[in-house]
Amino acid sequence: MKRAWHIAGKEILQNRRDPLALLFTIVLPVIFTVFLGLLIPSGDEGDTRLPLAVVDEDGTRASQELIDGLADIPLLELKTSSAAAIDSAVQDQKVAAGLIIPDGFGEAAEAGRPVALTFIRVETSSGAQSVWEAVEGALSRSNAATLAAEVAAEQVSAETGRPLDQGLLRSALSIAESHLAAPAIGIEVIDAGDSPVARSGGFQQSSTGALVNWVLFGLLGVCSTVVWERKNGLLSRLSAAGVRSSEILGGKTLAMVALTFAQQLLLVLLGQFAFGVDYFSSPLALLFIMISLSLLATAFGLLIASVLRSEQAVVAATVVTALLLAALGGAWFPLEVTSAGFSKIAHVLPSAWIMDAFHGITLKGWGVADILKPIGIVWIWIVAVASVALWRFRPE
């Protein structure tokens, strides 16, 4: 195996002197990481509230209480507006919707008379629909409190003979509001926070995706060197010098693993420190995943170069293989946003399991035990593909 090490050393030296190597190993992956990171929305990105423009033409305590109630809704971001500007703000989509509280709102509310608010929206806007539902919910709660207060005050007045005055109504309203604030039946909302479903967007996705994508495209390098060396008689010469096929493939594998591992390490460090992706929750698990990915790309490269002979066929097969593995494996977009059927089919490919393992350690804090299943499946692929490559490899 000493010859395999010498072949690996030679390959690394050749790569180091290749002016295009830096472009493909570092520059393009970083550009893709940034580009995709900005393109894919992240689950934990800053302010995702829907802006609602509010015009308070009433200016009473009741209207202010309604505004305060709306402001407490997490979905909404209230923006004060004017009657003249609110229409164009909605049309220009500066806000998701607009709400006008008319003059006399407070008075009508106090007297228990019906009053209508004006809601302005673009009919086709899904954001406006969400805002509408939120406003309607707030008004329902307000109406329910008023109704409960009126019923309670009338009951007290009838039973005690106390006159049904504003004081009694306000007192009943206060009690009803406090009860509604802590209803008997509530809903507890739980974030499935450990699931990558909600969170594998942004740089979490683009950093791991670009890493997997560009390592997989590295198989083009393996293929092209094997084809070039076969065409120029170098593989035959190695064979005539007594070097075995296993030593040739071993040397190329060592070199490819070393080069792609170094590439991964740089991208991981960049992801960790520049994009805030938490790669190092389990360094050992990360190491296993990186080595597995390097071996997987090498095995596919050697298989293609062993089975196919012509340069054109090898280039075509390499590009198609890398594209399929990267795109369908979830390196370009999170599989979580695809249908269950698509995700299931994608998991026939080893790259999908690699992505799962990466997301596991970056999003869920997975350790070595957690990656055993996905990486085990990847290793089955590696052994199978590498075995066929060795079986079919001919230096001549």
């Binding site: 000493k2 010859r3 010498h6 030679k10 030296l13 050749q14 002197r17 290749d18 120029n232 008689g233 170098l234 035959s236 010469r237 190695l238 064979s239 005539a240 010098a241 007594g242 070097v243 230096p395 001549e396």
Partner: protein, 315 residues
């Protein structure tokens, strides 16, 4: 006893319909000689080199190198041989020295012994001054020399050179031919393939002439030339009526063969050029033609090939 023995070799690519590259070829190479395989492209020379290098398995027949079978004892054979392929089988991104160091390691050399050997080889191939330059900066001739040097690092007993002078300038060719003679003088047995008759004539102790996978003659140059007798070839160019004159000259006494005219050019084989030439001029005048060019070629391997195949070697 021959150091390399080839008996009844046959190799067909893509059987059963593919071309037969080597068909029932037998020959022997003596220890210490330069043995050349001479023939046009497609004659089967490279296929024989590949079989003797254990890179191809013959369909039939057997070959032994230094007493070892190329099919059953390939490891032993590979230790004895140095192969210079037709292609420049080197790494362009590495320097001449780095290439030699790499190939030395492939032959199992290491440490100071490897460095010393690389120094010696660089000296032999005359590239000491350019050893640290990357190969991509070398001329074609310099690359060819490194290509040969890489096969000499492990002191092989047998050196195979497959068309080592293809596509290089006369100066580099001279250097390579001199080098081959020097390696041979140092005790290396050389198997050399070429389609250049002059090269085979200059360096070979014995020559095997090949055509279309078959070996058509083997021997020392003078033995091969005797196959066509002592005939001289007269090359002529005519301004007109070459077809008519070719017919007439075939009937002239002392003429053994006349070629088919091509663009007014033809050749005539004869045992006595001195007596024939005046009659050629006379008959040309009778046919109202003028001989615009004439030269004589003494018997050589080209004529042997022509005699045995009916075609020129360059065809």
């Amino acid at each position: 006893m021959d150091a390399i023995v080839v008996e009844g070799l046959r190799k067909q690519f893509d059987p059963p319909k593919g071309p037969v590259a080597v068909d029932d070829v037998s020959f022997g190479i003596r220890e210490g000689e330069i043995f050349s395989l001479l023939g046009p492209n497609g004659a089967g020379k490279t296929t024989i080199i590949s079989i003797l290098s254990c890179l191809l398995r013959p369909d039939a027949g057997e070959a032994r190198v230094g007493g070892f079978s190329v099919t059953r004892e390939s490891d032993e054979v590979k230790r004895l041989i140095g192969v210079v392929p037709q292609e420049i089988a080197l790494y362009e991104e590495l320097s001449g020295r780095e290439n030699l160091l790499f190939w030395g390691r492939m032959y199992g050399l290491n440490g100071p012994a490897l460095n010393k050997r690389v120094d010696e080889v660089l000296d032999w191939i005359g590239l000491v001054d350019r050893q640290t330059d990357r190969l991509e900066k070398y001329s074609g001739g310099m690359k060819r020399r490194v290509n040969i040097g890489a096969a000499l690092l492990h002191n092989p007993r047998f050196l195979y050179l497959d068309e080592p002078t293809v596509g290089i300038d006369p100066q580099s060719r001279r250097s390579i031919l001199d080098g081959v003679k020097n390696f041979n003088a140092a005790g290396v047995t050389v198997l050399y393939t070429t389609h250049y008759m002059e090269e085979a004539q200059e360096i070979s102790d014995r020559i095997a002439i090949m055509d279309r996978g078959a070996m058509i003659a083997v021997g020392a140059q003078d033995e091969l030339v005797r196959l066509v007798g002592e005939r001289t070839r007269i090359n002529l160019a005519l301004d007109r009526n070459a077809d008519i004159l070719a017919e007439r000259w075939r009937d002239l006494a002392g003429v053994s063969t006349v070629s088919e005219p091509e663009d007014g050019r033809l050749w005539v084989l004869t045992d006595d050029a001195n007596s024939l030439m005046p009659r050629l001029f006379d008959s040309a005048q009778t046919a109202e033609a003028r001989i615009t060019e004439i030269n004589l070629a003494e018997p050589n391997l080209e004529m042997v090939f022509l005699h045995l195949t009916g075609r020129a070697l360059r065809d």
